[in-house]
């Protein structure tokens, strides 16, 4: 069993590239007069969130790494560090990313961490760096456990995870329309990921892919960006703060306030923590299914179009039913 393997921290080494690419995108937009928008406080908030994400890695990363090294000690398997193994690890880790990301949108406890990445109403390369600070608290590191138990070294798993995040940087842009058709078919692209960042009813809970969009196509969550439904970036209920601390922790505070309300059953308290975002014990909030149903009630012509294939509006009081 090999313990002493080191891989570079790819994300840290990519920081100069991130800065240069942001400047290039900004200049492109300024010269062309199209391809996205920049706003000072929004961008600064995103950049500080990115810096905080690196800092939280320094402060809390040892917890996940300690867990991974413990798994590495107990597994009898070691696939080594050959190039084919690294490539395989990258592909499987992207599959892992798809599910963690999907959990991040469907389980409020995980959404509390991920929500800040969606909290900008802009979509440019700084948005890519609007990263969470509280990933450790979600315990989603357990989803990586199978990779280590089947013999991928923890350092390699973290390395390919870093490459995955670096890949996702460039797709946070409006400056690129569509990539060649073959590329759009297989890879996550700016177009696919714009849809993911949309708050339009059509685009809620779609396109969870990191690198390969095939996972969404396999598991029925793929929605192509529509020319007749321009993506409106941000949250269903956009937040009104540029304060990075509020951005990072607002949903955790929301969970706390909801779960400690007097008069709730234990089941309701747990639902406020772990049910999909939009849950409420009294029906005062809307889930993404209900938002889609209401949209279809207003726009029946959209029934059956991408993002609405699996929804109907027949249930009373806006309750959507998957069909």
């Amino acid at each position: 069993m090999t313990d002493q393997i080191s891989f570079p921290d790819a994300v840290q080494w990519a920081v100069p590239f991130f800065v240069a690419a942001i400047l290039a995108e900004f200049l492109w937009i300024a010269v062309k007069g199209k391809g996205g928008r920049y706003e000072t406080r929004d961008a600064v908030t995103s950049l500080i969130m990115g810096a905080g994400n690196i800092a939280s890695g320094f402060l809390l990363g040892f917890i996940a790494y300690g867990f991974f090294m413990w798994l590495w000690q107990i597994t009898p398997l070691d696939l080594g560090t050959s190039i084919p193994v690294i490539i395989l690890c990258f592909a499987l880790d992207d599959f892992r990313y798809y599910w963690v990301h999907r959990f991040g949108h469907r389980i409020r406890w995980v959404w509390a961490n991920h929500v800040n990445h969606h909290s900008s109403q802009h979509y440019n390369l700084t948005t890519a760096l609007r990263q969470p600070w509280t990933y450790t608290f979600t315990l989603m590191m357990v989803v990586r456990a199978p990779l280590i138990l089947i013999g991928f070294h923890p350092a390699m798993v973290l390395f390919v995870g870093g490459l995955n995040l670096i890949y996702q940087f460039w797709i946070h842009t409006e400056a690129i329309g569509k990539m060649p058709r073959w590329f759009e078919a297989v890879m996550n692209t700016p177009s696919h990921h714009r849809a993911h960042h949309g708050r339009n009813a059509r685009y809620l809970d779609c396109n969870y892919a990191g690198v390969f969009i095939i996972w969404d196509k396999m598991f029925g969550t793929f929605v192509p960006e529509q020319e007749n439904d321009r993506v409106d970036f941000g949250l269903v209920h956009n937040i009104g703060t540029f304060n990075p601390l509020r951005v990072a922790f607002h949903e955790w505070v929301g969970i706390w306030r909801d779960a400690i309300q007097p008069g709730l059953t234990l089941r309701q308290r747990l639902a406020y923590c772990f049910a999909p975002p939009g849950y409420s014990h009294d029906g005062s909030r809307e889930s993404s299914e209900q938002i889609k149903a209401k949209h279809l009630a207003r726009h029946p012509e959209d029934r059956g179009t991408p993002g609405f294939e699996h929804f109907d509006t027949k249930l009373p009081s806006g309750q959507a039913e998957r069909v």
Binding site: L23, E39, L47, H237, G254
Partner: protein
């Protein structure tokens, strides 16, 4: 990467990009008109039926009355944020009103109003 170099890159990058954006005019807040206020409100609350819209003289806030109650729309950088006026505190401020929402992610906003507007908005915001 050595920590000192990473720190310089991060701090220098943030400072440089901030300066560049500000100096090239990317700090201007969203300017509201009755039409854009209406559009923005429906963007945030597509189920609402708007009765009327009152835009502040500084054009950075709007009081939107809907069939389900009043709401506040305000400039948030180059964008807008909207909230129904359901759970909030309203504090007098030398420049207008400070509205505090009981929401950690949207703590509140300062609505700048002149004296004449202030009386009108106070009247519109009172529960019916």
């Amino acid at each position: 990467m050595p920590l000192e170099i990473l720190l310089v890159l991060v701090v220098g990058g943030i400072a440089g990009i901030t300066l560049l954006l500000h100096l090239t005019g990317r700090s201007e807040p969203f300017v509201l008109t009755p039409e854009t206020a209406r559009d923005q409100w429906l963007r945030h609350a597509p189920d609402d039926t708007i009765i009327d819209v009152t835009v502040s003289n500084d054009r950075h806030a709007a009081l939107v009355r809907t069939e389900t109650g009043a709401g506040l729309l305000w400039s948030f950088g180059a964008d807008t944020v909207a909230r129904h006026l359901l759970d909030f505190d309203w504090i007098e401020h030398p420049e207008g009103f400070e509205i505090q929402f009981h929401d950690f992610g949207t703590p509140g906003t300062l609505i700048r109003l002149d004296e004449i507007e202030r009386a009108h908005w106070r009247h519109l915001m009172e529960p019916e």
